[in-house]
């Protein structure tokens, strides 16, 4: 039987950090994509944003966030995809983040879902569930994660792109 959950590429951030994590030249041979990230920002800016195919328009999202004591919900017409650990949180602690993008090579608009946690050795830590939509019918060939203010990914941040086939 076919091997259907394959690692396509892995990015590991080296010393000095990285302004973004980008997967490019994504083949269209899979059914769905998953990115798993262990990440941390070098600054207080840890709000991550996504860009498919280097396009920064026509995104929307709904967020459910828990902070350890209460839940809240927000929405927006932007590329926000969650918050990972910032420089103000427990040292050497990295947030976990996963995005699932079904039918990424199809001709429909691209739905995506995200589960993530912002780890912290304190009373307050955050968990996110996000529904996202990129209203664009192009096949996804690249995926970029970035901070649009001042953040950079810290050394040892790692992200792996997986492809899933349904046959």
């Amino acid at each position: 039987m076919a091997n259907t959950y394959e690692a396509i590429a892995t990015v590991t951030v080296g010393s000095g950090g990285a302004a973004d994590i980008t997967f490019s030249s994504i083949p269209a041979t899979y059914t769905d994509l998953i990115v798993k990230l262990s990440g941390r920002s070098t600054t207080s800016d840890a709000d991550m944003y996504i860009a498919f195919n280097s396009n920064t328009s026509n995104y929307s999202r709904r967020v459910l966030r828990g902070n350890g004591s209460a839940a809240s919900s927000t929405s927006g017409s932007d590329r926000y995809v969650g918050t990972i650990d910032s420089s103000g949180e427990t040292a050497s602690t990295f947030g976990n983040w996963e995005i699932y993008v079904p039918n990424y090579a199809g001709s429909n608009n691209k739905s995506y879902s995200i589960d993530s946690v912002e780890e912290n050795n304190a009373t307050q830590a955050f968990q996110y569930f996000i529904a996202g939509l990129w209203s664009n019918t192009s096949a996804i060939t690249s995926l970029k994660l970035e901070f649009i203010a001042a953040g950079t990914f810290a050394q040892y941040s790692t992200a792996t792109l997986y492809g899933i086939k349904n046959s």
């Binding site: 039987m1 076919a2 959950y5 709904r62 079904p102 429909n108 879902s113 569930f129 529904a131 349904n166």
Partner: protein
């Protein structure tokens, strides 16, 4: 390396359908994942996406219960709710797919083939932003009170039909 994440079956609807059923599911995996992709309604707005499971045929008795946490566009206040002794489980409840807002969902059937314990089904579902009321995110823990192995899964909107092009894929996961 052993293959541990295998596609079992895929259904892409060629015409509108009231339900999608996977049957004769092998018991050789540890867990199952049912993935929804680009699932929309053929007409109208759905009020929930339900499912039933069983062995040989689906259980239509009042043997399901579920607890939900989520948020949707109708309110900035998240919600949580629970129902007991229902005739279906749910992958979506307060969020709803429409003819234009697609739903994506991952349903996790844990230890589905054992004959000792009741079965837990975890669902993480999202409905595309854009609808004023029903877009959002939900996570639901479902319980099917039966010790029977699951070899049949049926998913269906609470009313109406799934749209043409809606895709459902069942994967098997092996622990080793």
């Amino acid at each position: 390396m052993p293959i541990t994440y295998e596609p079992i079956a895929t259904t892409t609807l060629g015409s509108a359908a009231a339900d999608v059923t996977f049957s004769s599911i092998s018991g050789s995996y540890t867990d199952l994942i049912l993935s929804f992709s680009n699932v929309k309604m053929a007409s109208g707005t759905d009020t929930a996406i339900n499912f039933q499971v069983g062995n040989g045929s689906v259980d239509t008795g009042s043997n399901y219960s579920f607890t939900i946490m989520g948020a949707r566009s109708a309110s900035s206040t998240p919600f949580s709710n629970r129902l007991d002794n229902t005739t279906t489980g749910r992958s979506n409840w307060y969020t709803s797919i429409t003819t234009s807002q697609a739903g994506i969902s991952l349903m996790h059937f844990m230890n589905y083939s054992n004959t000792t314990t009741y079965k837990t089904i975890l669902t993480n579902s999202r409905v595309d932003p854009g609808d004023a009321n029903y877009s959002g995110v939900e996570t639901i823990v479902n319980l099917w009170r039966s010790t029977s192995a699951i070899n049949t899964i049926k998913v269906m909107p609470n009313s109406g039909n799934f749209a043409t092009g809606s895709m459902f894929t069942l994967y098997g996961i092996k622990s080793a």
